[in-house]
Every structure is written in C-alpha cells, then in structure tokens.
C-alpha cells in the first residue's frame, strides 16, 4: 500500500493545478465519459483551483493585516482567518488522500450495500471531499497517509449510517421521499441536535418554549447577501483597525469582492467534477437499483431552502461574529463561511420539528463550540493547506467555520493525534458498531416488508 500511495504522493507533489486535471481526466476515461470530455473536465477543475487561489490570496492580503491590527488595538486574540469551505474542498481534493478519495468512497458504498449496512446509494460524489478533508488532517497529525485513508473511510461509514437514520425526517420535514443526505458536514450535526433536543425536552419550563422564527427571514435577509456582508464586514473591520477612510472603503469593496468571487470559482470546481460524478453515480445506481428499499444520497443543499433553516442561519450570522469577539480563547475571525451556516441546519430542522427556539439554542451552542474547534484544528489545516499549494496571501493561520468546525472531523483528528492506533481503533469500533446496528434494522425491515408482501 505504501508504494501505491507513494505514486499518488508523486502526482500530488506536482501541485493541485496540474494534478487535478490529470486525475480527473484519467478517472473520467475509466468511467467511460470519453477522453475529450474528461480532459476538458479536468482542466476546468484545475482552472477552478487557480481561480480560488487568486481570490483567497486577495482575501489573505487584505483581511489578515486588518484583523491583526484590529486584534492588537483591542487586545483580541483573533489571528486565524476563516477562508471558507471552497478552500477546504480544494485542500481536501489536493491532498494525497483526496487524489484517491472518489474510487475509495465508491468502493466503501458498494461494500456497505452488499453487506446490507446501508440503504443509501450515494450519488453525491462531489461531497466526498468532506471525508478526504478528515483524512488529510489525520495524515498531517500522524504523518502517515495510510491512517489518513482509513480515517476517511471510517468517517464515511459513520455518515452513511446517520444518513439512513435521518432519511425519515428528510422525507417528513423537507418533503423529499426516497432521499437521504449522507453529507460530511450537515449529517455530523444530526446526533448533536438529537442530544440537545432531548436535553431541552427534559428541562421543565424550557421544554414548553417554542417560537416561529420564519418571520425573521425578511428582517435578517441582508445577512444572506454575500456582497453586503463582505463589504460591511470589511468596512467595520477597517474602522476598528484604525485605517483611514480610503483604506476602509478599499477593504470593504475588496472583501465584498472576495465573498462574491469565491462561490464563482467553486462553481468551476463543481462543473469540472460533473462528468466524473455523473458517470460514477450512473455506474453505482445501475448495479443496485434492483434491491429493496433504497435511498438516493444527495447533497444536503437540496434541504437548505427550508424557511426555518434559512431564517435561523441568517439570525446566527451576526451572533457568530459577536461570539468570535467575546469568547475567550477563540482565535478565528469568521468570514467566508458565514454563508454556509444553513448547511449546518438542514438536519437540525427535522430533529427539532420546526421549533425555532430550540434550533436557535442548538445553533448557538454548536457555533460557539465550532469556533473553538476551528481554532484547535487550524494548527493542522494551515500546514495541510501549505502542502496543497494553497495561497493564503499574508495570512499566517487559516481555518474554516464549516468543515474546520466539524465536530466529527475534530474528534477523529484529535483521537488520532493522541495515538493513531487508539484513534483508528476507537473510531473503527464506533463505525463498525453503527454499521452493524444499521444492518440489523435493515434486515428487520426487509423481513417485515417480505411478511407484509
């Protein structure tokens, strides 16, 4: 396995902008998308990487010095820049684990389907990067790519099982029958939401509180517009940092540009992956369409439009910024990922059954914890980013409040930091245990279906 990984190490040392076109092109050809289409797809991904680097470089150069100056003036400890999930996806796909993540995850899905440990055919190939991200961090803390690959696999197994278990809520609350959301970021919050929902249910008085938060969407709607969030945040940070007026205005427009341009570049990454993703999902679906009850695993973006999800996330944008400044020990300056708070709530919404009060409380708890997690993980995200040839501009430390604040990613990484054997063993036991529990449930349901039919 180490020779095998050594080969991928060589390819990944070429730099993401060269490596990704090669990998995507080869993978597209193997899956039967044709050479011309695969080559164009590969180059599109490479171009997406270059575009992302230009924008994140601009962000680092503008935001980092301003935040540093602001922090120095007011004795804040904010020194880590939140570069956002597109950057995290780039780091993940460009890592050694990332180069083989697509075939590895396809194999995991197939094995799980064959052993009846999942009911989900996960056609959301793009979001495999979340598993690669965990793997890349584990590879950094252990210094061993093999542990990274194993960690990515275990991460996926856990998420696939949680995806099956939350599929009922997805159908009921989000109105998507036959769909599960095995998403590395969204789905990691499902067990946390269940836990806190249960606790809130046990507190007398508090368990009666419920309010409708959806009306707040109009009032807080402005927090959903990256162009305004970026510009206003830039102006505020510039002013607090003690810049003069021209510099304040320049910082505002520059940061507005960053938040508008990052998603455009990420769209190129996505576009380039479509031929591979289509071919892979067609392949896996054809093989497993004749089985019992099957869910199609989609990107949790299909659930983001729920009005409560959007409203809670909008309200939490300003709260997150205040938390970042107020919480002692937090070092992360939230920025690019303020736009992806809705993804955190896609599965929290069904768990709290539309109770806006509980969604807000769970959101504040998870975001506060998330800031500490993002602070802690930045020590490994930063070197992983450097290894991936990521342009940080003049920022010295980076993180993300999306995947850099993911509790499952953090737990897996920290356990492997203690000791890779302990880490893999503990996570392995949990993953296999969950898979076996799921198998029992699937077989029981299949027997009932059989008896009824």
């Amino acid at each position: 396995m180490s020779y095998f990984l050594g080969f991928f190490q060589y390819i990944s040392d070429l730099g993401a902008t060269v490596m990704m076109p090669i990998i995507i092109c080869i993978m597209g050809c193997i899956l039967g998308a044709g050479f011309g289409k695969s080559l164009r797809a590969g180059l599109t991904v490479g171009i997406g990487f270059i575009g992302l680097n230009l924008v994140t470089g601009l962000m680092g150069d503008n935001l980092a010095p301003a935040v540093t100056q602001m922090a120095e003036r007011f004795g804040l400890s904010l020194s880590v820049i939140d570069v956002g999930w597109p950057a995290a996806a780039q780091i993940a796909f460009a890592s050694t684990v990332g180069t083989i993540i697509i075939p590895v995850c396809l194999a995991v899905n197939i094995v799980m389907l064959l052993t009846n440990t999942t009911q989900t055919v996960d056609v959301d190939i793009w979001d495999y990067w979340h598993f690669a991200f965990t793997g890349a961090l584990v590879a950094v803390v252990t210094g061993n790519q093999v542990y990274g690959v194993i960690a990515a696999i275990l991460n996926m197994v856990i998420i696939m099982v949680l995806g099956d278990w939350t599929a009922g809520g997805v159908e009921e609350t989000l109105g998507l029958p036959g769909v599960s959301l095995p998403h590395g970021f969204t789905t990691a919050y499902a067990p946390i939401a269940m836990l806190f929902d249960w606790i809130l249910d046990k507190i007398p008085g508090v368990n009666k509180i419920s309010f409708d938060i959806e009306k707040m969407q109009k009032k807080f709607g402005v927090f959903g517009e990256p162009i305004l969030v970026g510009t206003v945040l830039g102006i505020v940070i510039g002013a607090v940092a003690g810049y003069d007026i021209p510099a304040i205005l320049q910082l505002g427009v520059n940061l507005g540009a960053v938040l508008v341009l990052i998603p455009k570049m990420a769209a190129l990454l996505m576009e380039g992956l479509i031929p591979v993703s289509d071919a892979a999902s067609e392949f896996i679906e054809k093989k497993f369409s004749n089985r019992g009850k099957i869910y199609i695993g989609l990107d949790s973006a299909v659930g983001v439009g729920h009005p409560m999800t959007l409203s809670v996330a909008l309200v939490l944008v300003p709260i997150t910024i205040f938390l970042a400044v107020l919480l002692p020990g937090n070092q992360v300056m939230p920025f690019a990922d303020l736009a992806v708070i809705p993804w955190m709530f896609v599965l929290i919404t069904p768990v709290v059954k539309g109770n806006g009060f509980r969604a807000l409380i769970i959101g504040i708890i998870t975001l506060a914890a998330g800031l500490y997690i993002a602070t802690d993980l930045s020590q490994w995200i930063t070197p992983a980013a450097q290894k991936a040839g990521f342009d940080m501009g003049s920022a010295t430390a980076i993180s993300s409040i999306c995947d850099g604040a993911n509790p499952l990613t953090w737990a897996i990484t920290r356990l492997n930091w203690i000791n890779p054997f302990v880490g893999i063993a503990v996570v392995g036991v949990i993953a296999v245990g969950l898979a076996l529990m799921n198998r029992k449930k699937i077989l029981k349901e299949a027997a009932e279906m059989h008896a009824a039919g």
Partner: protein, 94 residues
C-alpha cells in the same frame, strides 16, 4: 427568449449540476436558443423571480415566488425527469 432562474441552496453546487441536465433536456426537445438559464440561491427567489418566466429549484422553497415554479430535485436523482421536462416545456411555450 424565456428567462429561467435555476436555484439551489448556494447557487453553486446542485444548480450547476442541474443546469447542464436541464439545458441538454430542453435542447433535445428542440428549444435550443429559446431559453436562458441564470443560477441563483433559494433565498433570492422572492426578490428576483419577478424578472423571470420560470423558477426551477432543487430545494424546498418557503417564500413567495412571482412566476411559475418547478421543483427539479428529480434531475439530481437521475430518474423521473421526463414529466418535469414536459412541465417546463409547457410553461416555456405558453
């Protein structure tokens, strides 16, 4: 020229995937050059839909929509798309 607003959660991921599929399906129906697709976010529908002839969404929508709306999650599932395409064609040819 009919204007279509294609939305998902972020305006990036699933809308990019569905954009390619809808474009191909409509071109196969001989509508090439008669429509223009713009990608956007679900949260923008209430405000932007006035300027469009049709909204296709990959996600559930809560707010108001000021033009015909089609839910296009089927394009991500890769099955059951034919009736959706019929519906889109009908709206576009009105």
């Amino acid at each position: 020229m009919k204007r279509i607003l294609l939305v998902c959660g972020s305006g990036i991921c699933t809308s990019t995937a569905v954009n390619q599929k809808v474009t191909k399906a409509l071109e196969d129906r001989g509508l090439k050059g008669q429509f223009q697709i713009t990608q956007g976010k679900a949260s923008e529908v209430a405000e932007k839909s006035k300027q469009f002839d049709l909204v296709i969404s990959t996600t559930v929508l809560g707010g108001e929509c000021h033009c015909p709306l089609v839910i296009g999650t089927a394009f991500l599932l890769g099955r059951g798309t034919e009736p959706i395409v019929d519906q889109i064609v009908e709206i576009l040819q009105k």
